[in-house]
């Protein structure tokens, strides 16, 4: 692969053509927070946390879907970006009902970690307090829409890795919801294979094992990344 040179946060780097900005940063110990990105899944640029500044462009670009180009100068830790990352985090919390103290994923939650990372002390936006459902119709797992941040990792892992296409997205804007099949209770789904990959990749306490109790839910998104890597090596 031909190499090109880029400058990220004053570091001069030699990278392969076709690499995303996020991959370059992760490989060079430059920390960019993400929610919807997971190695092995197709990136969609949904969470907007990984936005970076590219010199010569007035727009902020999502680093997970932006490929590096020769001689680019990229900034990842400016005050503007830090301000926006904190704002986005606050909006995650304000949209639905994230109550860590009673959450199944308390202490094992990527959203909680993100709050600490960006230094969120309070939420400056009014909470929507949406009335979301908890779907416990499935025999093994539970879907709690109150904790969902619409990263769509579950949707992508179900369609692209498992190939079952159980999950989909309904409506738009703040009314957007994750659905199973024709918006049926998860337990009535005809496509779910009970594999549990969606539960493993979920960054928050939205998807969990039925036998989990408060704070006990452990997630293993890495398992899916490894699985995809093994499959690619085989082919």
């Amino acid at each position: 692969m031909p190499k090109i040179s880029v400058k990220i946060d004053d570091k001069d780097l030699e990278v392969e053509v076709g690499t995303t900005v996020l991959d370059v940063c992760r490989a060079n110990d430059i920390d960019i927070p993400t929610m919807c990105h997971l190695k092995g899944l197709v990136d969609v640029g949904a969470c907007r946390l990984c936005l970076v500044e590219v010199e010569g462009t007035s727009k902020l670009l999502p680093s997970c879907t932006t490929k590096v180009q020769a001689n680019q100068v990229i900034h990842t830790q400016t005050d503007k970006l830090k301000k926006y990352r904190r704002m986005i985090t606050e909006l995650f919390f304000a949209e639905r009902n994230h109550v860590c103290s009673v959450c199944i994923a308390n202490g094992n939650c990527e959203l909680q970690d993100l709050g600490y990372k960006v230094g969120m002390e309070n939420v400056r936006f009014p909470y929507l307090f949406q009335n979301c459902e908890v779907d416990s119709s499935h025999s093994k797992f539970v879907m709690d829409h109150n904790r969902c941040i619409m990263c769509t990792r579950c949707v992508r892992v179900c369609s692209d890795v498992e190939g079952a296409h159980n999950w989909g997205i309904m409506n738009r804007g703040y009314q957007v919801r994750i659905i199973a099949d024709f918006n049926v209770p998860w337990g009535d789904s005809t496509t779910c294979t009970y594999c549990g990959k969606c539960v493993d990749v979920c960054p928050t306490g939205a998807l969990w094992n039925k036998d989990a109790t408060q704070g006990s839910m452990q997630k293993y998104p890495q398992a899916v990344s490894d699985l995809v890597e093994k499959r690619e090596m085989k082919s």
């Binding site: 369609s159 159980n166 989909g168 738009r172 099949d181 009535d188 005809t190 496509t191």
Partner: protein, 171 residues
């Protein structure tokens, strides 16, 4: 005996129904291509006026697309509707110009006679009332669209007569 899960996709549509024939023909014409989903949904919406769940199940099964993708598509686009909009429709423009010229009085008058608010349908499914934010006919304000026909400068005293004359509802 082996028990299999009853699927909501196991629905039979009456084969003699011309609307079903129309959709089946469209699917065949599109060669069962999954990416023709939106075109096929358009045909179904035009045939029925909305998208009944059993029709969605039929399309899902014929195209072999995931049910969640069909439902996602239908709920994403404003054009598609899962609920009947009524056999006859009355759309009152509530854009700025029409609103200033008294669109709310028209809606109140309709509610007085037919007891339906915007987005609702009469219990016999005869009439549905909708609103739109500007239909691009501000010079005709307040504008009303009754069964695809635009009526200009409608007053509160006229509105129910216009609906009845055009659709026969409430005669």
């Amino acid at each position: 005996m082996l028990k299999t899960k009853k699927s909501f996709l196991d629905v039979e549509l009456p084969k003699s129904d011309p609307r079903v024939k129309l959709i089946a023909a469209k699917i065949k014409k599109e060669n069962y291509r999954q990416d023709a989903l939106i075109e096929i949904l358009h045909t179904a919406q035009n045939a029925y006026g909305y998208l009944p769940m059993n029709v969605l199940a039929f399309i899902t099964r014929e195209l072999k697309v995931p049910p969640s993708r069909v439902y996602s598509t239908v709920t994403f686009y404003h054009f598609f509707s899962l609920k009947s909009k009524g056999d006859h429709t009355c759309l009152v423009c509530t854009g700025t110009a029409c609103y200033v010229k008294g669109a709310q009085a028209l809606l109140d008058e309709i509610e007085n006679k037919f007891h339906i608010k915007p987005g609702q349908v009469t219990p016999d499914n005869q009439l549905g009332v909708q609103t739109a934010r500007c239909i691009g006919a501000c010079g005709l304000a307040p504008a009303v669209v009754v069964d695809d026909e635009v009526k200009a400068k409608v007053t509160a005293a006229q509105i129910n007569n216009i609906i009845t004359t055009k659709t026969g509802v409430g005669a």
